[in-house]
């Protein structure tokens, strides 16, 4: 039976990588639903992938023409919902528009699809929010509040998803922070980690909240795509939640990451050493917030922007935690899919950032 796989957010970092993997299959028609789809974006897709301009914020019509909507509804067998606003410090109503309301819309659409067999929804392990310690795949996040609007909107999205699970075959995949490709270091989607790296490089990050020994969980894009593709295609578990993360053994401490960062700057830009930029100090949250408040009161626009850019991401570092991924690893391990050690590919990512001037030259 011919499958029709609808992928939302197919032009995003993860979405694009998944489109490539699904397009490699022979028995499926791939339809990418993307907001403001352009011919250039369509042209960047693998051959045979159908591009459809739409907008999840339009509600259950998905912002597509009625005829397209009806045809899609009749044919869709799989939904891979990647569309998300991953900006950490977006105003909460704006973050909810895509992450919560958009998810409601796609699930409402799914409920109208008679051939629907599988739905993948993507979330973040950081729905754990301000909680510390071990966060499991069955745990619900947000008990202790959230660090930023992204986390909160994703936790609210999970409520919508769990409510729909009794009616729809949904698996939930919580991703750790994606920082680039483990083989080439290429970064296709810049996030707060890369912005923080740039501030470190420019010498505008005097301090970071967190403990040197705190583990920072990061994953490469190729692992995120391979793992979620495998779980969806080969071991679909409706009603289940999976953590796609590095885990304690393959993560690095914050202190080690800062060391690796400055080492990479010096290795790939020897002139950087001459600038005598100090390694940021690791501080407690109170001290960091006092610095942020001081910069605000001083009215220093440059440092204000820099601290705000670091703030949304860095605050999470003040709440050390580990993610239990046993359910995902039980499936992925036998298939030989595991996240690489972050320090094995981190240097390549930093190098790519430097050499591309954080994407400006790419």
């Amino acid at each position: 039976m011919q499958r029709t796989i609808l992928i939302t957010g197919g032009t995003g970092t993860l979405g694009r990588a998944l489109v490539e993997r699904f397009a490699g299959g022979r028995d499926a028609t791939i339809v990418v639903l993307a907001r403001g789809a352009t011919s250039a974006a369509a042209g960047a897709m693998p051959p045979g992938v159908r591009f459809l301009g739409g907008d999840l914020r339009a509600g259950r019509t998905l912002g597509i023409a009625a005829a397209d909507h009806a045809a899609l509804r009749a044919s869709v067998t799989d939904i891979v919902h990647c569309a998300a606003d991953t900006t950490f410090n977006r105003p909460l109503p704006d973050a909810r528009a895509i992450n919560v309301d958009g998810t409601s819309a796609i699930l409402a659409f799914g409920a109208e699809c008679p051939r629907l067999e599988r739905v993948a929804c993507f979330s973040t392990v950081y729905v754990a929010g301000r909680s510390t310690g071990c966060f499991g795949e069955a745990d619900v996040g947000g008990r202790d509040g959230f660090v930023n609007s992204y986390e909160q909107s994703k936790a609210e999205m999970e409520v919508v998803v769990r409510d729909a699970m009794p009616r729809l075959p949904i698996a939930l995949y919580r991703l750790s922070t994606i920082i680039g490709d483990s083989r080439s270091g290429t970064v296709t989607g810049f996030n707060a980690v890369h912005h923080a790296l740039r501030l470190l490089y420019q010498g505008l990050a005097p301090m970071v909240p967190g403990h040197a020994s705190a583990l920072v969980d990061l994953i490469p894009l190729d692992f995120a795509a391979d793992a979620s593709h495998h779980l969806f295609e080969r071991a679909f578990g409706p009603g289940s939640t999976y953590h796609l993360c590095a885990g304690a053994a393959r993560s690095a401490t914050l202190g080690a990451l800062l060391d690796a960062t400055t080492a990479a700057f010096e290795r790939h830009r020897p002139a950087w050493r001459k600038r005598s930029i100090a390694r940021p100090a690791l501080v407690n949250l109170d001290t960091y917030e006092l610095f942020v408040r001081t910069v605000e009161e001083a009215g220093n626009d440059v440092l204000l922007q820099a601290t705000r850019a670091v703030q949304a991401f860095a605050y999470q570092l003040a709440y050390p935690k580990m993610f239990d991924a046993r359910r995902a690893e039980a499936v992925l391990g036998p298939a030989g899919i595991e996240a690489p050690r972050v320090l094995d590919y981190y240097d390549a990512v930093v190098r790519w950032c430097i050499e591309s001037n954080w994407g400006a030259a790419a």
Binding site: G203, R275, V283, L290, A298
Partner: protein
Amino acid sequence: MSLNAVGIDALTYWLPEASPTLAELEARGTVRGAAALASFGFRQARVAESESHVDMAAHAVRSLLDETGTPPDEIDLVLYAGALTSSTTMECGPAPAGSVLHMRDFMDFFKYPVSRLQSEFDLTNASVAGIDQQGCAAIFSAIRLARATLLAEPDVRTVLCVSADRLPHDASREVVYNLVSDGACAMLLRRGVRNRIVATHQVTKGAFWDAGSLENEIIAAYFPTARTVIETTLRKAGVTLDDIAWVIPHNVSLRSWEILLGLIGCPREKLFSENIGRVGHTIAADNFINLRDATDAGRIRQGDLLLLFTFGYGLNWSCMVVEH
């Protein structure tokens, strides 16, 4: 106390009488962000009206010699520290608009403040030298060199260290969120005396020499480097922060000290901060004005370990541990 140890045997300072408030300074146009400065802990500045920096240095030295009854011929070495370029020559102000130095003749370049002090106070047995290009850390560098000289040269028994800086008339007194005052300090260093200098440490980062174009980078560099310098000094002294009774600061904003204390994990109560609001940042003399006032106020007991830290353009981070 070991005769191989060097300490600050006596210490005085001199501040101008005029102490305009932030509002008054704002009305004069020498401060723009009075509200922010107030929230950072400043209340007033000390502003020299008619005195030059050399006059202020002379006031401090006269007070020191009178107070201690030190005969001028006991002084073996004078180290004169100036943070501002204008502090290393005789003529300072009033300077023409747009200028700091006011030279009327080529030979003015060779009129040295330290020579003038030697002459004025009959320091006939002393050799004299100037210490500059250290920013607000100038007096720390002078003390470091004085200590090294006392340890290396047996015939040098008493070193006079002096520091004096004043801003040109009508110059902005607001520098990187700090309120700058005029002031001077003078001290005698000898072997085997109180205020034993246990350890010193200095880090210089010439990459930031063009301070005007790198203000944000300098603010960002300040905190992590300050922590490193303080921790290194403590290690060199063989002590920990728990052993430190008082942190004797340079009078930059109280807020920045609160942040730095958070970085190094030091309780706020250990900071002698009273002078930040009422004196302001006298460029290089702060720590020693504060040391004198804390001593006079009976806050420091014999044997207390003190941490003195300062920062100067250049950039220079300097720190010392002193046993009172």
